[in-house]
């Protein structure tokens, strides 16, 4: 009985050590239908801290549906 309880507890808890896929902090998340490497609007990342921009337009300043090959 004790062994059965132990098995059930393990099944219920699952594997919490498995890493979730994550985007690198410095990479913008672009719209899923944009070609790879394209300049495209990004999805909102409300948990990101605001940072000063670089020399190129950031994806949040690109309008919806915009895509220009780099």
């Amino acid at each position: 009985m004790r062994a059965l309880f132990l098995v059930l507890a393990l099944v219920a808890c699952g594997d919490n050590t498995k890493p979730t896929p994550a985007t690198p902090d410095d990479a913008p998340v672009v719209e899923p239908d944009a070609p790879p490497g394209a300049l495209a609007p990004c999805l909102d990342q409300p948990t990101d801290l605001p940072r000063p921009p670089g020399t190129q337009l950031t994806c949040d300043l690109l309008p919806p549906g915009f895509s220009v090959p780099r």
Partner: protein
């Protein structure tokens, strides 16, 4: 020769004085097709050192549903078009007259406000003709009429209300119903983050403008906007 030089200097001095002193719309741009908007006129100067004792603002046909606010001068009075029985559209002018005596010098700043509805005329400029009356103690009143467009080289410039479309925070798509000259783009998009037409972009922010210049495949928006152009604007 010396007389000519002095005359030119005097002309420049007088012209500069008037240019600084002209009444302005101090409340910022108006929104097209929107009611209950306050439009405030700022009057920084009187006339050649004389204090202002009266001001009359003529109401253009593109501003309706007029309500006049009390000012430092006290109660407003309005004039209606006798041939128009509709109170929403028949106010032709508002006048404010100072209740007490004029100041000894011209040092006061006055504001006059009306509330009204602006017609659906985005990306246009509405001119208000203003008649200003001034007086110094123990002298006759003088009157200045401010009724000329900003680019005029004669007369006195009227206050201008820049009309922009209604918008929300974030991305807004507009299809232009009127052309916008390239030199007016900064005027109408002064508070935008960025404006796009295709792969051309404009921003009033110099840092964003530098990024526009540094981004491959993107060019600066420097030409006139035409009727039918579709633009994306982020506020």
């Amino acid at each position: 020769m010396q007389r000519v030089t002095l005359a030119a200097f005097a002309a420049v001095t007088v012209f500069s004085g008037l240019a600084i002193a002209h009444p302005t719309v101090a409340s910022g741009p108006g929104f097209a097709n929107k009611g209950s908007q306050k439009i405030t006129f700022g009057l920084a100067h009187g006339c050649d050192g004389a204090d202002t004792i009266k001001i009359k603002v003529d109401i253009p046909t593109t501003v309706t549903s007029i309500r006049a606010l009390y000012s430092d001068f006290g109660r407003p009075t309005i004039t209606r078009d006798p041939n128009n029985a509709n109170p929403q559209t028949n106010v032709r002018s508002i006048e404010w007259v100072k209740g007490d005596t004029e100041l000894d010098e011209d040092f006061a700043f006055y504001e006059f406000t009306l509330r009204g509805r602006i017609a659906d005329v985005p990306f246009t400029k509405i001119l208000f003709t203003v008649t200003q009356t001034c007086k110094v103690p123990n002298a006759s009143p003088t009157t200045v009429v401010w009724d000329q467009p900003p680019e005029s080289t004669v007369g006195e410039p009227a206050p201008v209300l820049n009309v922009v479309p209604q918008r929300v925070a974030g991305w807004n798509k507009f299809v232009l119903t009127t052309a916008v000259a390239a030199e007016d783009v900064p005027l109408y998009f002064a508070d935008a983050q960025i404006v796009w037409r295709g792969t051309e972009a404009f921003s009033p922010n110099s840092n964003t403008r530098a990024m526009i210049q540094g981004t491959t495949g993107v060019t600066e928006l420097t030409t006139d906007l035409a009727v039918g152009d579709e633009i994306w604007v982020k506020y």
